[in-house]
């Protein structure tokens, strides 16, 4: 297939004319009016066409690929799936994850005694999720990290745990598509 060059079409030379200016104004009125009536009609038939979302009362429905803040997957027994292997901590470009591993008597002998994510540094890039060899850290739909102090943006393990079935049809659905590549 060939590409070719084309010259852009410039508007006709502007003659110092009242008529052209008036025409431009009328055209502008026509366009803005069209938008107005369209939005009004949408409002009347309850299918709003305005794209403004009244956050936080209204929220966008995010696609399942959506990459919010990283969370820890909680297994059915209430414990985290994470075994504190540290790959996410290492892969994180901004060093926002801090893990201190420890030993447990469970079958899998290791667990994160401390698992902190500094959300004020996290940039939601998802490399932790990609590095994880256990499907233990995934991105959630949550993006709200406001806190009254800097300390509040440091999320600890208990804040980060999310039951696995809450993630199944969001991000996990998205990443699991690529598992057998």
């Amino acid at each position: 297939m060939a590409t070719q060059t084309v010259a852009v079409r410039r508007p006709l030379a502007m003659r110092a004319g009242f008529i052209r200016s008036a025409f431009a104004i009328l055209k502008g009125l026509w366009i803005t009016n069209r938008h107005f009536w369209r939005n009004l009609w949408g409002f009347i038939i309850r299918k709003p066409t305005v794209f403004t979302v009244q956050f936080p009362e209204e929220r966008l429905v995010q696609p399942n690929a959506f990459r919010g803040m990283p969370v820890l997957v909680q297994m059915d027994n209430g414990k985290e799936r994470c075994v504190a292997c540290g790959l996410c901590e290492w892969a994180c470009p901004t060093d926002c994850i801090t893990i201190y591993p420890a030993e447990t008597a469970d079958e899998i002998e290791r667990y994160p005694r401390v698992f902190d994510i500094d959300m004020s540094r996290c940039m939601f890039c998802g490399l932790c999720e990609e590095a994880c060899p256990e499907e233990a850290i995934v991105m959630s739909q949550n993006v709200e990290i406001c806190a009254y102090s800097r300390r509040g943006t440091l999320w600890h393990k208990d804040d980060l745990l999310v039951p696995v079935d809450k993630l199944l049809d969001t991000r996990l659905f998205h990443v699991r598509r690529g598992y057998d590549r």
């Binding site: 060059t5 852009v8 410039r10 366009i31 938008h35 470009p93 990609e130 057998d180 590549r181």
Partner: protein, 571 residues
């Protein structure tokens, strides 16, 4: 287009002694020349008809700490006539890092050399104005030197004044000493920025005004400098991808694609066709978003609020597409070394078509409100004109250059990915004023829509990742249950992809021009040098000349049409 061997042969036959080394690695021609020959070689490369390297893309340096000739100053050249490239390298000593400035040959070397001086401390003999450009004058040391630790912090105010009694010194504009205006009054010094509502980007422009006429301007960038290159050099190759998002944050995927292509070139690897199509789709969608922002913001800053809303509404549709592809609207982090992070979601083609239908309507409305509008036209037409030759000399690429009628679009000139299979037009301007820049961007959006629609029809089935465990993380399904793949995952994450030693440059057409990545690998998992040649930096440079002699009000549309993206310009 001359092939690399011919270029090198031409140079060698002319300079028998000055050329220390010349080689072709991964299709990149490069010559190492003696420092005293640099200016001659540069002149020859520019003037010789069979070479005619009229576009200086980039000047940077590589710090080979521990070697006697420690700094290697690297120039990347491009010929808009023949569409070929050349890399000029010059080694300078650690003791006396001085090399000739090439500003007499390409005026655009000015800022690039200032940056190299700022970051590496290499001095350029004959440079008209060798100041720091990103760091402040009080900064100690040169941050990109290998012996400057990444962790070192310096106060943002001058040393010795930690209490903050820092008086911002207003630097003198070079070449301007107390010029009197027409009426005998003194010139008025106006600071536009660093945080000005009409500059969507943090930049300070020092203007000297005679009445309303701009006598001189000094553009000061660097307010968004965050050490992109230093960060990249201290992380693994895969860790730099999120940082490339933040170069041009209004078309992040295009920046991802260029970077990953550069790393793949280091490996000599090629991604499968489906992946290439997905990259083109993502990239073109991002390009539309970038142009929409530029068009809308220009309208806004010329007091037209409604078209701005239409453009942003259209951009919202684009963000929804990007969001569905990769899970983030702006900072996509979509492309991976050797692939993409995920396949297109189900029903993406239909979503795209529906979005484009509405998008084109909105673009039409934006255009309809503006193009016939006398105020808009009065502020755009005939403003910010510069000849094509002068723009090339400044190193300007992209829509800006095409608006001046130069047929330079890397997608057409040096097709990469699958652009050679696609049918699209390259819109060119005729007069090179702001109106042409505006029109070129509008036209490019429509071409991008065309490209994406073609891709969606043509995209083949198949893998989206390269089948090479040394590049791409293995599929998670296998990591969870198999030993070799688990080990592979561990080794890739902990040590990174390790390309063979070598250096490559990859230039791709981003929304504002050529974004080029110059990578030097020393065989480890971290790039030894990761340089981003960004279009916004080179495009912003002629601003001072574009507005000189014009009214202050002309500053705004001209700056908007340059579309300086702070993240990309300041890195």
């Amino acid at each position: 287009m001359a092939d690399n061997a011919t270029i090198l042969a031409t140079l060698q036959s002319r300079f028998t002694s000055g050329i220390e080394r010349s080689d072709i690695y991964r299709d990149d021609a490069s010559v190492t020349i003696a420092p005293e020959q640099l200016l001659d070689v540069a002149r020859f490369a520019r003037q010789e008809a069979s070479l005619s390297f009229d576009l200086l893309l980039d000047v940077t340096a590589v710090d080979y700490l521990g070697q006697q000739a420690r700094f290697e100053v690297v120039h990347h050249l491009y010929s808009t006539k023949h569409h070929h490239r050349l890399r000029l390298k010059t080694r300078v000593l650690e003791k006396e890092p001085i090399v000739d400035s090439v500003v007499p040959v390409w005026v655009g070397a000015n800022w690039l050399e200032r940056e190299t001086f700022d970051m590496y401390g290499v001095r350029f003999r004959g440079h008209p104005d060798l100041r720091r450009i990103y760091m402040y004058e009080e900064f100690q040391g040169h941050p990109l030197r290998k012996d400057y630790p990444k962790e070192r912090r310096q106060p943002l105010i001058g040393p010795g004044s930690p209490q903050g009694n820092y008086q911002p010194a207003i630097p003198e504009i070079p070449g301007l000493t107390h010029v009197e205006g027409l009426l005998g009054a003194e010139l008025m010094r106006v600071q536009l920025g660093p945080s000005h509502p009409a500059t969507h980007g943090t930049v300070r422009i020092l203007l000297d005004l005679d009445g309303e006429t701009i006598v001189n301007a000094d553009v000061q960038v660097g307010y968004l400098h965050r050490g992109f290159e230093k960060e990249c050099e201290s992380g693994f190759y895969y860790q730099a991808i999120p940082y490339t998002d933040r170069l041009n944050y209004s078309s992040a995927i295009l920046c991802n694609v260029g970077y990953c292509m550069a790393v793949e070139k280091l490996f000599g690897a090629e991604v499968p066709p489906r992946c290439q199509f997905i990259r083109v789709i993502g990239g073109e969608i991002a390009r539309i978003a970038d142009h929409l922002l530029c068009v809308g913001a220009t309208a806004l800053e010329l007091n037209a609020f409604t078209p701005f809303l239409y453009a942003l509404q259209a951009r919202e549709l684009i963000w929804d597409l990007v969001n569905a592809m990769c899970g983030a609207r702006v900072t996509s982090n979509f492309v991976r070394i050797g692939g993409v992070s995920a396949d297109l979601p189900a029903g993406f083609a239909d979503q795209c078509r529906a979005a484009f239908k509405r998008l084109l309507e909105l673009v039409e409305d934006t255009e309809g409100l503006l193009l016939e509008n006398p105020i808009f036209r009065a502020r755009m037409e005939g403003v910010g004109v510069m000849s094509a030759e002068r723009l090339i000399e400044y190193g300007v690429t992209g829509p800006l250059l095409r608006a001046a009628g130069v047929d330079l679009d890397l997608r057409r000139a040096q097709p990469y990915l699958v652009y050679d299979q696609l049918d699209f037009d390259v819109p060119l301007g005729t007069q090179g004023d702001n109106m042409d820049r505006f029109l070129v961007r509008l036209a490019e959006m429509r071409q991008s829509v065309r490209i994406v629609e073609q891709c969606l029809k043509m995209i083949p089935d198949g893998p989206i990742d390269i089948d090479d465990p040394a590049l791409r993380f293995p599929g998670k399904g296998r990591v969870y249950g198999r030993m070799e793949e688990l080990i592979n995952q561990f080794k890739l994450v902990t040590e990174g992809q390790k390309p063979p030693p070598g250096e490559v440059y990859v230039g791709t057409e981003s929304a504002n021009g050529e974004i080029g990545y110059f990578l030097v690998s020393d065989g480890t998992g971290k790039p030894y040098k990761c340089r981003a040649r960004t279009p916004s930096f080179s495009n912003t440079q002629p601003l001072a000349e574009l507005v000189r002699g014009r009214l202050l009000a002309d500053m705004v549309p001209t700056f908007d049409m340059i579309n300086m993206i702070g993240g990309e310009c300041d890195r």
